[in-house]
């Protein structure tokens, strides 16, 4: 069984490498410089994409080797600051991560206690359900103008947008987890004359913890999706702003680097919460 499993892992790894090589190969061929025999180019476009592309010898699309070089350049010096529009990618990621963690943390502080209340009280559940159902499907970016108008600070507004998109999965999962704690566990607490606070912390919280953690994992994933778009809107700092800025610079290599790093950070956030969820999961 073990050998079968490891051989499956090995074969999957080989297949992954093969797919990667194929993508890079096709990309390399597609972006190879071609002889300058193409039709005459619109001079406006030529001006936009730069001299190399205008002569037709090179596309604005970087080759895999260019990307590799760009990634390397960013990795060896991720935290440089050369003016407000030219900061290292590490700094930009740190800004985004900080906003996500702040907005997400505030949302957790708000959503988990409220979810507890909703889960414990059918009355509160029914009373709040219409609000949740209407607000949950709203794109968090739709809140941005309202946030900018009321808060009058773009940095705090983006944190608010992260807050509002992180709240729903945590709220709903906490309420569901708390509401579906097995009756017999609650009866154990009742027959032992355990007070409401001790029951909440010693019985309901551990029982609902896996469901709550699932909600947190969904929330942090959504928050990381939303921060890029939010920073594109508000500008200034952050990885979303970085992507938009590099689009204005038409530096595709930098954009691809950012995409890969956004994916990597998202993976780390998800795995971090998956690991935390494992700590509170119990087998029945």
């Amino acid at each position: 069984m073990a050998t079968l499993k490891s051989s499956l892992g090995l074969r999957a790894g080989l297949l992954s490498l093969l797919i990667f090589a194929a993508i890079v190969g096709i990309w390399q061929i597609a972006t190879m410089p071609v002889a300058a025999t193409g039709p005459a180019m619109d001079p406006e476009y030529a001006k936009l994409v730069g001299a190399a592309a205008a002569t037709g010898s090179k596309s604005a699309m970087p080759t895999p080797a260019d990307i590799g070089a760009t990634i390397w350049k960013h990795l060896v010096d991720p935290f440089y600051v050369r003016g407000s529009n030219d900061k290292g990618i590490g700094i930009q990621l740190a800004y985004s991560l900080g906003r996500v963690l702040l907005g997400f943390g505030l949302a957790a502080l708000f959503a988990i206690p409220l979810g507890f209340l909703i889960g414990m009280s059918p009355l509160v559940y029914r009373a709040l359900d219409p609000f949740i159902q209407i607000l949950k499907p709203v794109s968090p970016l739709a809140w941005m103008p309202l946030a900018l108008y009321t808060i009058k600070d773009s940095a705090i507004s983006s944190i608010f947008v992260i807050f509002i998109c992180s709240v729903w999965p945590m709220l709903i999962n906490t309420a569901f987890g708390v509401g579906s704690v097995r009756k017999e566990w609650l009866n154990v607490a009742r027959t032992l004359e355990v007070g409401p606070f001790r029951t909440a912390f010693k019985v309901i919280l551990p029982a609902a913890a896996p469901t709550i953690m699932t909600g947190m994992r969904i929330s942090v994933g959504i928050a990381w999706l939303v921060i890029v778009a939010a920073e594109m809107l508000v500008g200034g700092t952050g990885i979303g702003y970085f992507v938009w800025n590099e689009w204005n610079n038409l530096s595709i290599a930098n954009i691809v680097t950012a995409i890969l790093l956004i994916g990597l950070v998202g993976l780390l956030l998800d795995q971090g919460l998956a690991w935390a969820a494992k700590l509170v999961t119990y087998p029945e």
């Binding site: 017999e184 566990w185 009866n187 004359e193 029982a207 119990y282």
Partner: protein
């Protein structure tokens, strides 16, 4: 003499929904004396578990009351420990954690070392020494139920309430646990109220067997006194005891026929739910049965 048993069930009735619905059971009267092992036997759906839940304080009756120690119960109490049918262990805690949770609920001022020492005594009592740090998922069904028993005993309650505690176990494990419960109850002179539908289990464990008819409108038909002394009840040769088959046949006859047709049986006769027949089928060959003994003597 105003003698009231430790547990006195007085005129208990329970209906679900409004008063137009038929009662699951009504006018239930019986008592359990201190140190007595009392089994309630009846078919599924007659409300046995509801009666136990009322005794535990987890459910409230529609009519009547339960008096324990001369006080009407109005909620759960640490004096009445419950052993649940599905063991109801908290799966995120270890064996020690589960029992320590109960112990520290009973004695909130105890420090951790004292709680654990106390819990360890009861883990040893049920024969789970060495399994303290296991989680319920790592235990067999019988071991889980032992933890449930240890948890109930560890709070040193005035009485144990058991809801078909062994019904989910295989026959061998069930037998071993029955023996242990018998031993522990004898050692600690514990008062026990247990629900079962297993006739042999009732004969092995109970001093008194309360027979409940089928619902809706279930009643207590009569109370069978187990005239086999405790020290003569051994699981392996129970069937060799001279009284065994008389008691067993009486119980089986009740479950098979009389529990269904009890209303016809008492039609025209003076059945008084407050003055139930105490029957001793085990002595039937020796003494004439069916003496009427009042449950309570009022002044």
């Amino acid at each position: 003499m105003d003698h009231r048993p430790l547990i006195s069930v007085e005129g208990l009735g329970r209906r679900f929904g409004d008063s137009s619905q038929p009662a699951v059971f009504e006018d239930i009267w019986f008592g359990v004396d201190k140190g007595e092992f009392c089994c309630l036997i009846g078919h599924s759906g007659c409300g046995k578990t509801t009666i136990l839940n009322v005794l535990a304080g987890l459910d409230s009756p529609s009519e009547g009351a339960v008096i324990v120690d001369n006080r009407e119960i109005d909620g759960p109490s640490l004096d009445r420990a419950v052993i649940f049918q599905g063991h109801a262990l908290l799966p995120w805690l270890t064996v020690m954690g589960n029992i320590a949770f109960a112990v520290s609920s009973r004695w909130p001022s105890w420090d951790k070392a004292k709680v654990q020492d106390h819990a360890r005594r009861f883990i040893e009592l049920v024969g789970l020494k060495g399994a303290e740090n296991k989680r319920p998922a790592q235990l067999s069904g019988g071991m889980k139920q032992r933890v449930g028993i240890a948890r109930a005993l560890s709070i040193q309650p005035k009485m144990l309430l058991m809801d078909e505690p062994f019904s989910a176990l295989d026959a061998l494990t069930r037998g071993m646990l029955q023996d242990e419960v018998l031993r522990i109850c004898a050692d600690t002179n514990q008062t026990v109220f247990m629900i079962t539908h297993d006739v042999d289990e009732a004969i092995l464990l109970a001093d008194k067997i309360v027979l409940m008819t089928n619902g809706p409108g279930a009643k207590i038909a009569e109370i069978v006194v187990n005239t086999m002394p405790r020290n003569e009840r051994h699981r392996n040769d129970l069937h060799k005891h001279p009284q065994y088959y008389a008691i067993r046949n009486h119980l089986v006859e009740f479950l098979v026929n009389r529990s269904r047709a009890f209303d016809q049986e008492i039609a025209g006769k003076n059945y008084d739910p407050r003055r139930l027949k105490l029957v001793k089928p085990g002595l039937a060959a020796v003494n004439p049965p069916a003496e009427v003994v009042p449950l309570r003597h009022s002044n």
